[in-house]
């Protein structure tokens, strides 16, 4: 897992690194899961397809994180894994595997309100991809 928390008084700021864009997206999914249910084990009981097409990689990663939050907020769907068919800096075709929140097995974390745009960045680096995101909680 290649993400870590950065200092922030009121909300949650995270840096995510991936050797490839696929890895970055998987780590983005992992941090989302952690913000929803901490370290509670989440099983791949349900598979939901996702397709996104955006103008640039920042919009793509931001859109991906927002989609995960929407699924959790409206349907209590917790992501466990990402099966990627295609990921480019402007498109994702993938399947999100996961399950619905089960209060007996999942310990919920304080509510994430939004994936903000404050200081949001996605960069291609020498080591792969780097993203920074602030979640409003």
């Amino acid at each position: 897992m290649t993400y870590h928390f950065l200092p922030h008084t009121a909300d949650i700021k995270v840096a995510i690194d991936g050797g490839t864009l696929d890895e970055l997206l998987r780590d983005a999914l992992a941090i989302s899961r952690q913000l929803y249910v901490g370290t509670s084990p989440v099983e791949s009981r349900e598979r939901r397809p996702i397709t996104l097409a955006c103008d640039d990689v920042e919009e793509l990663v931001h859109g991906f994180l927002r989609e995960l939050l929407y699924q959790y907020a409206t349907d209590n769907f917790i992501p466990a894994a990402l099966e990627i068919t295609q990921a480019t800096p402007t498109t994702i075709r993938a399947v999100i595997a996961g399950e619905r929140l089960d209060a007996l097995r999942h310990a919920t974390e304080p509510e994430v309100k939004a994936v903000t745009r404050h200081g949001f960045l996605v960069r291609c680096t020498e080591d792969g991809w780097h993203a920074e995101v602030v979640f409003d909680v």
Partner: protein, 479 residues
């Protein structure tokens, strides 16, 4: 960037002179200690950034509980000319019409203490809390949700969740001109099952009592004598409001570019008040605000139901709404600008409206004392009730502070709380906690917050709010 030059004007006021492309100066309410804590904090730069926005009238204002927010600081107040000003979702925040309401009862702590555990259990059972909390007894149809978004608290009262007289004691009588058609399908989907739920984070339902009275006349009018048991509700527009903000930030980034608005920070994205983008946002924001008013109205109903089940119907009937006030909102109001009455759009983000005695929007029963202002603290110490003043109306567009403000990050608070049993600690001090998640309680430990007394003393000292009473908690429902 050079450090900001902040000049002290008096014990409670600080000024940032207009410089660069600022259109006005910054005015910060704080004492020396609070200001010292803000040194190096980006929130002061945010006060400056807001002063760059087109059509701003009066200063860019910060309350003593100011802290960093998206674009606008939390604790920020800014007013914009209706003709050439702007509206910005960043000036309202994600939780549209997050706010507080206070009810009083005919009970004393002596009456409640023997039944407190039962009362807290009942409140916890009847008001869902926690992440994504929803009501199994309330799944609104699309048309019913549209009625909530149009009518706000009035919808709730009509459906049997409260009394007609409650509406007199809600800011804007609990209804703003909302446009349900401006609210996205996604936002409505997020809101369909969450009405009547408290949510998570710093939201709560608190049982407390009046421990100190500062202004006998106002307290008596509010029915807040010593030892009166009260119910504080803090929540907002839940997922629906978050989504409305999120949707409109996208639109406003494009609008700012379209109208050539030069922004020092992209998060200040905004649109001219006369533009279609602004009308769309204001319609959606007001609809979300109505959802929040209805949400808090429903929770009051469940407080009364709990009182009926644990005490009696008479005690439930005695539970009277003192006031309900928003602290994340943008509203058109009439204010005097350089000697002329003008309609301006006042953004209050983490700031409370505090209208003075005599203001026509106040209900008759408060007309001579001013609008009740409700300032929650943390779950271990105290909260305050104030009233609005003419000083606030003259200087801050009728606004004052909204709470304590965090001093510890959530991560830090969890680390501090990790080896402790916070609910037990609080119970030993006579405060019962009922929470959906231990993690929330850990993040919300009292020491994670500034002392709200210090914040309230600043606004009282500066004359932009007048202290009436102090409430201390007996029990808290958290998310």
């Amino acid at each position: 960037m050079s450090p900001l030059q902040v000049r002290q004007i008096d014990p409670f006021r600080w000024r940032v002179e207009r410089h660069g492309r600022m259109r006005t100066h910054g005015l910060i309410f704080a004492d020396a200690e609070l200001m010292h804590d803000l040194e190096g904090d980006q929130c002061l730069q945010q006060v400056v950034n807001v002063a760059h926005l087109p059509g701003i009238v009066g200063p860019s204002i910060a309350m003593p509980d100011i802290h960093w927010g998206y674009g606008f600081p939390i604790g920020g107040v800014a007013a914009f000319d209706e003709a050439d000003g702007v509206v910005s979702p960043g000036g309202v925040g994600y939780d549209i019409n997050c706010g507080v309401r206070l009810l009083r009862s005919a009970l004393s702590p002596h009456d409640v203490r023997p039944k407190l555990a039962r009362l807290m259990d009942s409140l916890f059972a009847s008001i869902p809390s926690g992440v994504g909390s929803s009501r199994s007894d309330m799944r609104l149809s699309v048309s019913e949700l549209d009625r909530v978004l149009t009518e706000g608290a009035r919808w709730a009262v009509r459906e049997g969740f409260g009394r007609e007289s409650d509406l007199d004691c809600i800011e804007a009588h609990g209804t703003l001109p909302g446009d349900p058609t401006a609210v996205s399908k996604r936002a409505k989907e997020r809101g369909r099952t969450q009405l009547g739920t408290v949510g998570s984070g710093n939201h709560f339902v608190e049982v407390g009592y009046v421990a100190e009275v500062f202004d006998e006349t106002a307290a008596s009018r509010l029915g807040l004598s010593l030892d009166t048991v009260t119910f504080f509700i803090h929540s907002g527009s839940r997922g629906l409001g978050y989504q409305v903000c999120d949707d409109n930030l996208d639109t406003m980034v494009q609008a700012a570019a379209k109208y050539g608005i030069d922004l020092p920070d992209k998060q200040l994205c905004c649109a001219p008040l006369q533009s279609p983008e602004a009308h769309h946002y204001l319609g959606a924001m007001n609809a979300a605000a109505n959802y929040a008013f209805a949400n808090r109205q429903m929770m009051s109903h469940y407080v009364r139901r709990s009182l009926a089940s644990v005490f009696s119907d008479d005690i439930a009937d005695s539970a009277t709404l003192i006031y309900d006030v928003a602290h994340n909102i943008a509203k058109f109001e009439m204010h005097e600008i350089e000697g002329t009455q003008k309609r301006v759009c006042v953004h209050r983000k983490g700031a409370t409206r505090a209208f003075p005695p005599g203001h026509p929007e106040l209900t008759d029963r408060y007309r001579d004392i001013g609008q009740p202002v409700l300032i929650p603290g943390d779950m271990g110490r105290y909260s305050f009730v104030l009233v609005g003043t003419s000083g606030a109306f003259d200087e801050t567009f009728g606004s004052t502070c909204h709470g304590a403000g965090r001093r510890m990050s959530r991560h830090q608070a969890k680390k501090v709380a990790r080896s402790r049993n916070v609910p037990r600690e609080l119970e030993q001090r006579g405060i019962l906690i009922r929470a959906a998640s231990r993690r929330t309680v850990d993040e919300e430990i009292p020491e994670a917050y500034k002392d709200v007394r210090q914040v309230v003393d600043v606004v009282h000292g500066a004359g932009i709010g007048k202290k009436v009473a102090k409430l201390v908690p007996m029990g808290v429902v958290k998310g």
